[in-house]
């Protein structure tokens, strides 16, 4: 193949793979517009007001991110953890597992980073920062590896264990940062303050937004995940198991080991999401009244991004835009919060529907037999 032909081929492939999500986003926006107009009718607005509703709303959404450096910076704040949880779910997916537990791994990672951040204040700041990030990765990774281990050795389905571990993580977390005997700060709903010197530096261009250089780590993670999956032996094994665990076993690849390994890496990514988000934007590990939603969003992002790191980055951006813009659509364009949620949901629905069907169909063909034996 000549270089120009290869280039064309690449563009063609790229177009084929983004065609679907683009169409879906378009349809999602239309349905969202219809929903807004319908609510407008219920409110008894005039025709011109009704027609104007979606326009104002979408203009607000667009401007909230692209209208100012500040706005763009704020969307980056969401982008970082969304990329990482999206990658986390992607990685497990590639090994044939559905990691619903990114939420819990995120919490464990966040807490691990915070713990290092308010405990080892004697270390040089840069070392403490790196240790905190590593702690987040290790914490999230081990938390998820439990899931892989249970599946590999005991055949317990990962969806069940991850959901249970999510709740365990949330409640232990709230207990640790909420009780004085442990780590609760005196006048705050959360842990002791982490050493301010180890916070990830902010990006000056976008100030006064909270945008921080953690975005580089997230993008780096996307590249590394790509390399692991398609350039290394580990990735070869993970994908083989994910595509057909029977054929992988025949080929001498240990299905059990790869379940554990894939969950470990998946958890590392989700743990990093928590740790980096904390070090970039928070002063302490605040108590959580509910899940953050980054884990659940990660599932949708992985689906929309077609389980490809590049797709994940793009899909995560879409989500970041909505997370940033939704409150403003409510405040500035006067769209009810619920309607904003409908707009978001319809976009996700249109993109995910097709992928979901494909995925379910694929899973049904694979029957796990004798996974635990013969390794």
């Amino acid at each position: 193949m000549t270089a120009s032909k290869r280039y064309k081929e690449f563009l063609h492939q790229a177009w084929l793979s983004i065609r679907l999500p683009l169409t879906a986003i378009f349809f999602g926006l239309i349905v969202g517009a219809l929903a807004m107009m319908w609510v407008g009718i219920q409110d008894g607005l005039s025709l011109s007001q009704i027609l104007n509703l979606p326009l104002t709303a979408y203009r607000t959404l667009f401007n909230s991110v692209f209208g100012s450096f500040y706005g763009f910076g704020e969307s980056l704040v969401f982008l970082v953890p969304l990329i990482l949880t999206g990658l986390s779910i992607t990685f497990a997916f590639r090994c044939g597992m559905f990691n619903v537990g990114a939420e819990g791994q995120y919490i464990v990672g966040l807490f691990s980073a915070a713990y290092v951040g308010f405990t080892f204040n004697g270390l040089p700041a840069w070392l403490q920062m790196i240790t905190a990030i590593i702690a987040a990765a290790v914490g999230g990774g081990l938390w998820a590896a439990i899931v892989g281990w249970l599946k590999a050795k005991r055949g317990v389905h990962e969806v069940i264990t991850t959901i249970m571990l999510n709740y365990i993580a949330l409640h232990i977390y709230n207990f640790l940062v909420g009780s004085k005997e442990w780590f609760k700060a005196d006048k705050f709903q959360g842990s002791h303050a982490i050493n301010p010197a180890i916070k990830i530096p902010q990006i000056g261009l976008f100030s006064p937004s909270r945008a921080h250089w953690g975005i580089i780590l997230a993008l780096l993670a996307a590249i590394i995940v790509y390399i692991i999956l398609w350039r290394t032996k580990t990735g070869f094994e993970v994908r083989a198991v994910g595509n057909s665990n029977e054929a992988a076993r025949y080929a001498g690849i240990s299905v059990a080991k790869n379940y554990i390994k894939a969950m470990l890496i998946s958890g590392i990514l989700a743990g990093l999401a928590g740790g980096i988000h904390l070090l970039g934007t928070q002063a302490r590990a605040a108590s959580m009244s509910a899940f953050t939603g980054f884990g659940a969003d990660g599932i949708a992002i992985a689906l929309i991004g077609q389980n490809h790191p590049l797709g994940v980055v793009l899909a995560a951006f879409l989500f970041a835009v909505m997370k940033r813009g939704a409150p403003l659509m409510q405040a500035q364009a006067g769209i009810a919060k619920e309607v904003v949620a409908i707009v978001q949901a319809s976009i996700i629905f249109f993109v995910a529907a097709d992928q979901m069907v494909k995925w379910i169909y694929k899973r049904r063909k694979k029957q796990v037999k004798e996974v635990a034996s013969n390794e």
Binding site: R231, T232, K233, T234, F236, R239, A240, N243, S244, E246, A247, A248, R249, Y250, A251, G252, I253, S254, Q367, K369, E370, S373, N374, E375
Partner: protein, 508 residues
Amino acid sequence: MTLAIEMRDITKRFPGVIANSGVNFQVKAGEIHALLGENGAGKSTLMNILYGLYEPDEGTIFINGRKVQIKDPNTAIKHGIGMVHQHFMLVEPFTVMENIMLGAEIANRGVLDFEKARSEVLRISREYGLEVDPEAKIQDISVGMQQRVEILKALYRGADILILDEPTAVLTPNEINDLIKIMRSLTKEGKSIIFITHKLKEIKAACNRVTVIRRGQIIGTLDTGEATIEMLAEMMVGRKVILKVAKKELKPGRSYLEIDNLTVRDNRDLPAVKGVSFQVRSGEIVGIAGVDGNGQTELIEAITGLKKLEQGSIKLMDKEISQLSIRQRYEEGLAHIPEDRHKHGLVLDFDIAENMVLQNFYQKPFSKGQFLNYNEIADYAERLVANYDVRTPNIKVEAKKLSGGNQQKVIVAREIERRPSVIVAAQPTRGLDVGAIEFVHRRLVEQRDAGDAVLLVSLELDEVLSLSDRILVMYGGNIVGELSSAAADEQKIGILMAGGQVSEKGMM
């Protein structure tokens, strides 16, 4: 006489290949019409077009003289076309009944009417001699039975024209005879059958006419009465085919594979192999004959590590391998051509190159440290694809897109090229055309001549007889007889396979 089917000027292109090019194909009502052609010639594609799975790029289809547009299988079924695919499409944990009803449920106010469906299925199965146990689960019944279920499924949906894509590739000789009987009773009722097979004998035995297709084009249609096997083989491959392989004189060396008192249980935890002992020496091919389900599958899976053994020992070049992992066994020099190529042999979503290094991707030169060396992998795959005549536009094609026979060639190439010392080959030529069979047989014999030990398990008696130096017959989980190739013939093996006795003279 009316034409049940007429396909006119059908062309179908895939990226990089023209699978069908201006194909004209006609089937008369009430006939059994064979479709013959090399692996990748375009048979399945043509039939998938007729069944509405692919849309042709050009061409028209007539059914009973009427022009029709078949845009999906539902339309095909409405026009009375039924298809049994090369790789079955049954839901394993469901029962026979449930599988037959699936997608064509008879409902009574929204509730499934099992009784009515059941009596209907029983009626059809009695009418055509298609006996099945409606309550058995698919995963528990033999492949031959699964096939009956597929045929029943098509008839239940009212098929008048039945497409059978390589139905006999997975059947035992007895099952094949039964199938031919069933096909005859179907045509007696006025149904037409399109029958794809690579076995020329079957065409002579069962079909009225045969159409030969090569590289997407029709070569001709003949009455089977006028056709000889040699003629068909030549039309199909475009050259003379030698159906018998030349072997050098047997010069067995020391024992390479030694099985001692091996006991294995099957998936339902019943004893399947009951204390079997034998050896395969360097430079010899040992064939295992037997009716399907007499422990051959479990024996092979125990040797290759897919299944745990209960007791006994397996020695490969004097080294005990029964407790080694599958990968370690490969490293000791074992190769395995598996029985089920879709389940075990290939990662269907991987491309050909990745499948070519499925076991040794982690070794030099295919990787260095953690990193895979895709250039080396590609070079290697290119070489194997060329040497083994895998018909594909390039090595980046996913394995699932290859024709059935070409998938098999990928596996054979990969296993032989790993330079093993013991080759365990289960149904190595399943689904291959005569040319490719000749090729694989030659390669296996070459490996033997070069000093490898080959353990061959095949349901094809012809194959076992023509390749093996020694033949073991398995029955009920035991080896009930051992014959030298000189002493063996179809009759003796047949008796042993059925659990009978052969006079001591023939035994070794």
